[in-house]
């Protein structure tokens, strides 16, 4: 029977070693430490910065570099104008380029400050074939300030535009390509290249420190005014709270808050101008709870608007992963 011991031992080994693999508990990471970031928009607020809270990466470029902003998703079709430049747009009744030679009689429109797709100045352009006229803003010389354009094509891959300067009659056809991993694609009229810049991929930014146009509807008539503030990535959600102590905020305490993806939910009001002190003062008691594109929660509050040299346009904030 000595010879049998090997197969017997083999059988015993098979029986004992063959069990379902059990899960090993996952150990969740502890909350992150408090971090600080300063965004150098500059005293003239001329630059905008994309900020990724997870990596603290920033990407900056001039605020005024684009004129039209296009939805980048395959089924997207909405188009915005650059409020930071005080741009305006008017829909004409013309269906040919030559029929438009001046801005007389045009009704100018502006996007809603929230960037709500249903409230754009250009509106539902796929439903008609009329030309638009864009006023790029008062900072541009007259020769390059007004452009007429028609949105002539739309697909999952991109947009097709026909455009010309207001006085020109020679049409230029331009394709604005969509990129599925972005939220928006940008276009500038007087650039040789159709893309002035590309924003970071959707998962690589949470906040955009920029200038944008707010419309104070409590004024009569409503007052469009360019403000310096924060727009969020539309895939990010933010809750605003001013009742909790910043240090006591945890993952558990934010679950009952109401989150929104309205782009100007953080906006500009985390600071105000103190006329008596002749300086901007931040409101550190406003807590912003941010759920990023990866589902990570952050708490954030602003702590300053000035750099160490006393120059404005350097918003500084404290933030911490929950």
């Amino acid at each position: 029977m000595r010879g049998l011991s090997l197969p017997m031992a083999f059988g015993l080994l098979l029986s004992l070693s063959s069990c379902f693999r059990e899960d090993v508990p996952v150990v969740l990471p502890p909350p992150g430490g408090l971090q600080y970031l300063q965004v150098p928009q500059g005293p003239d607020y001329s630059r905008q910065y994309y900020v990724d809270l997870e990596t603290a990466d920033t990407l900056g470029m001039p605020v005024s570099v684009w004129d039209l902003c296009f939805e980048a998703q395959p089924d997207g079709w909405h188009v915005w104008i650059n409020g930071a430049n005080q741009a305006r747009v008017a829909q004409t009744t013309a269906t040919s380029l030559a029929a438009i030679t001046d801005t007389a009689g045009l009704v100018w429109k502006m996007d809603a400050p929230s960037w709500n797709p249903d409230s754009t100045a250009i509106g539902a352009w796929p439903t008609h074939n009329f030309f638009y006229v864009l006023d790029r803003g008062p900072a541009f010389a007259d020769s390059i300030r007004f452009y007429k354009f028609q949105l002539t094509g739309l697909s999952a891959m991109g947009y097709l535009l026909t455009l010309a300067a207001l006085k020109d009659t020679l049409p230029i056809n331009v394709v604005v390509q969509k990129l599925i991993d972005r939220q928006y694609m940008y276009f500038a009229f007087n650039k040789s290249a159709p893309f002035p810049f590309q924003e970071p991929p959707t998962d690589n930014w949470d906040l955009l420190f920029t200038r944008y146009r707010h419309i104070f509807t409590d004024q009569q008539p409503p007052l469009p005014y360019v403000v310096t503030g924060v727009l969020i990535n539309p895939q990010v959600a933010v809750a605003v709270d001013s009742t909790m102590d910043f240090d006591s905020i945890t993952y558990a305490t934010v679950q009952q808050l109401e989150f929104t993806s309205r782009r100007n939910v953080i906006g500009y009001a985390w600071k105000y101008y103190d006329f008596s002190a002749q300086a901007f003062v931040v409101r550190p008691y406003i807590n912003y709870i941010i759920r990023d594109t990866k589902g990570i929660y952050w708490k954030l509050r602003f702590i300053d608007f000035y750099n160490s040299n006393g120059q404005k346009g350097y918003p500084t904030f404290a933030y911490q992963q929950l």
Binding site: P7, F20, Y251, I296
Partner: protein, 728 residues
């Protein structure tokens, strides 16, 4: 049909023993059929035990014949008190194989009018097949497909598993998912051989027998002696199987008990990968067979169980605040109880009764598992429990007339199913089928046999008559023809008739008015046998045509509400031509086969293949051995053909896809030690390391992407050990 037997003689008898061995290896031949005749009891039959022996109680000398697969039939005599050793000569053509499927009585394979193929225990062990899917994977007539959760499905000559009847000792195996039996749930621990008939056999076996019949014949308890064995098997991809069986004769009562455990750890298997493409699987199985020794009667009882657990673990979702995954567990239980009684009367009349009850249940449990606390919570609305109970009673009476020129068989077949399930209308449904059938086998001339058959049924799905006609013609001693024309049918399942499923996206309803799928088939098999010196050759050329109409397909009937139901709308046609050749030269055996399939499939008026799609397949096998060293090596190659099929995308749109061709190559080395008590099998399977093939959809823009279809886990090594613990 009897599948085991007893022999009892009177009190004044003397014992005699016959030892059956291989003339080539001198190894004992287990389960060889021995047939003899006595004046008192007429023809008797029994099988050799684990040591190749069989004991007789004799009053007088008898003539006997010994049959076993792969050996020449041996005829001799035995006197009371005599103890003899006989050695069987191996042959190229399995003329000595005895088959039962579709036969009036135990019949030599060579004499069968029906085209029966046999996979015997030797081949099962040589391939180290753990379940039925392993056995048929390399057969030219079969094509395997595997779903990670629903298991293995075989098609025969291009006809899918839902149109193939799987029998266990002649009674239907129940429990189909998605229309087919999971062949991975048919374990082979106590299986003696597998008989396959290509083409319809509904005239005898009723529903589902359109494309073919796979009849699994289990081992019978021994007529004498006691033995036990242990089988171990492992693969480098995480398979660990253990099985054992014991059998013996205890004072006129013979038992066979077998059982085992199969485990697959899933693949790929690593600490980092929770979700596995090939799901972890655990199986327990066992059976008990009992055979009393009764004068003039053959009685057999068998009880079997099977349990399977498959774990489909989801990809973990890990955020800074939680970690979880969605897991699905599937539990399958099978119970089968069968009783078989037969008796031979004077005039070579034989009466047989088979009765069985099969129970099948499949439970799906769905959980959200917290990977931090390792607790799990049931997911509401995701759990499912389906059960199916099926009883069958089948009785036949057969006999011979006109100096054995005419053989006849008449039978009655009753079958009932009762299903329960969360998604069945009314939770519980049943259907039944009552049929009478008869076949004649008329030997018109010594060369020509004709076999007409007819089945008359009463059921709810409209198949009152099923005819068949087969013939066998021997052109010469070396050239034989088998041909057949037959109708077959598949009854709509209870699910197809009474499903009641809806969710937010769509709803699917059964159709109680469904009729059976019906088929017409024609086939011809030519067998050529040659002997050229030491080389023995046999070749088979076969052609077959199958036309399945009234095929049951899921169809969109209300686009606005996204309502689907089953309707008889499809048509499926196949034409196949097969050439297979086998050569024996001493201990070298070569097999080569080529099959050309042409398939035409239409789901409805608008969705169909573009005419016939041609699919060539081929297979090679080389087996060589050194009998004096009990060593054998086998090399097996198979190329599967591209196969057209229809699939449904996430939006419910049906589209055509083509599963591309792929190649399989295995090598196995076998050796016996310790006077055949220990058998070792080792080898490498899937040497070409095939894991998946691209899923080539039809040319529509929506489905032009190529998704891989997993077909195998890739290359792996295996080791199998079989040890006779008790016995010689």
């Amino acid at each position: 049909m009897a599948w085991w037997a007893v022999s009892v003689e009177g009190l004044c008898a003397q014992s005699a023993t016959l030892y059956v061995r291989s003339a080539q290896t001198d190894a004992p031949i287990v389960n060889a059929l021995v047939v003899w005749h006595t004046d008192r009891q007429g023809m008797q039959q029994a099988w050799t035990a684990a040591n190749g022996s069989i004991q007789f109680s004799l009053h007088q000398p008898v003539r006997f014949q010994v049959f076993h697969s792969g050996y020449q039939m041996h005829s001799d005599s035995l006197a009371p008190g005599q103890h003899r050793i006989i050695r069987l000569q191996p042959i190229a053509v399995d003329l000595g194989e005895v088959v039962v499927t579709g036969q009036h009585r135990l019949t030599l394979l060579a004499g069968s009018v029906l085209p029966v193929r046999v996979l015997n225990r030797d081949e099962i062990e040589q391939r180290q097949a753990q379940d039925l899917s392993d056995v048929v994977a390399y057969e030219l007539w079969a094509r395997m497909s595997r779903d990670e959760v629903l298991g293995s499905n075989a098609s025969i000559n291009g006809i899918s598993g839902q149109n193939i009847k799987v029998l266990l000792n002649g009674l239907p195996v129940t429990g189909r998912e998605n229309g087919h039996i999971d062949l991975g749930q048919i374990t082979l621990n106590d299986v003696e051989r597998i008989e396959i008939i290509e083409g319809p056999l509904s005239v005898l076996y009723g529903t589902d027998a359109l494309g073919g019949v796979i009849n699994i014949i289990t081992q019978h308890p021994p007529d004498s002696g006691r033995s036990a064995n242990l089988q171990l098997y492992t693969e480098t991809v995480g398979t660990y199987n253990i099985a054992a069986s014991g059998q013996g004769q205890f004072g006129g009562h013979a038992f066979l008990i077998s059982g085992g455990r199969n485990f697959f750890s899933g693949f790929p298997d690593s600490d980092q990968q929770r979700h596995q493409l090939w799901k972890p699987e655990l199986q327990y199985f066992g059976s008990v067979a009992y055979q009393p020794q009764l004068p003039n009667w053959t009685v057999g009882l068998r009880s079997g169980f099977f349990y399977e657990e498959i774990r489909n673990k989801g990809e973990p979702v890990i955020t800074p605040y939680q970690a979880y995954a969605f897991d699905d567990f599937y539990y399958v239980r099978r119970l089968s109880q069968t009783a078989q009684v037969s008796r031979t009367f004077s005039g070579q009349r034989n009466w047989e009764l088979q009765a069985g009850y099969n129970f099948y249940s499949r439970k799906k449990a769905a959980y959200r598992k917290d990977l931090v606390t390792l607790t799990q919570q049931e997911r509401e609305g995701e759990a499912q429990l389906n059960t199916l109970g099926e009883w069958s009673v089948r009785s036949t009476l057969s006999g011979m007339l006109w100096q054995q020129q005419l053989s006849w068989q008449a039978g009655i077949d009753l079958n009932g199913q009762q299903a329960t399930g969360d998604r069945l209308l009314g939770d519980r449904k049943q259907q039944s089928d009552l049929a009478v059938f008869g076949t004649l086998e008329y030997q018109a001339t010594p060369s020509l046999s004709l076999r007409p058959g007819l089945r008359l049924a009463h059921n709810a799905y409209g198949v009152p008559l099923t005819p068949a006609l087969n013939l066998r013609y021997d052109f010469s001693e070396h050239i034989h023809l088998r041909a057949g024309l037959a109708r077959g049918f598949r009854a709509p399942s209870l699910k197809e008739r009474y499903l009641n499923f809806y969710d937010s996206n769509h709803s699917i309803y059964g159709n109680p008015e469904l009729k059976a799928e019906q088929s017409f088939s024609a086939n011809m098999f030519w067998l050529f046998e040659y002997v050229m010196g030491a080389v023995q050759l046999n070749s088979e050329v076969a052609v077959a045509y199958n036309d399945i109409s009234n095929q049951i397909n899921l169809s969109l009937v209300n686009a606005l509400e996204q309502e689907y139901t089953y309707i008889n709308v499809g048509q499926y046609r196949t034409r196949t031509a097969t050439v297979q050749t086998e050569a024996h030269w001493n201990s070298l055996r070569l097999q080569a086969g080529f099959m050309l399939q042409a398939i035409s499939h239409s789901l409805n008026d608008t969705l169909a293949t573009d005419g016939y799609v041609i699919a060539p397949e081929y297979r090679f096998q080389i087996m060589a051995g050194q009998p004096d060293r009990n060593l054998r090596v086998a090399l097996l190659f198979r190329r599967t053909a591209p196969m057209p099929a229809f699939s449904t995308d996430a939006a419910g749109v049906v589209y055509e896809k083509i599963a591309p061709a792929y190649n399989l190559l295995d090598v196995t080395l076998s050796r016996s030690l310790w006077q055949q008590r220990l058998s070792l099998h080792a080898g490498i399977n899937n040497i070409l390391n095939v894991k998946d093939v691209p899923n080539l959809s039809s040319s529509t823009a929506i489905h032009s992407s190529q998704d891989a279809i997993p077909v195998a886990v890739g290359r792996y090594a295996f080791l199998g050990i079989k040890l006779n613990v008790i016995g010689p």
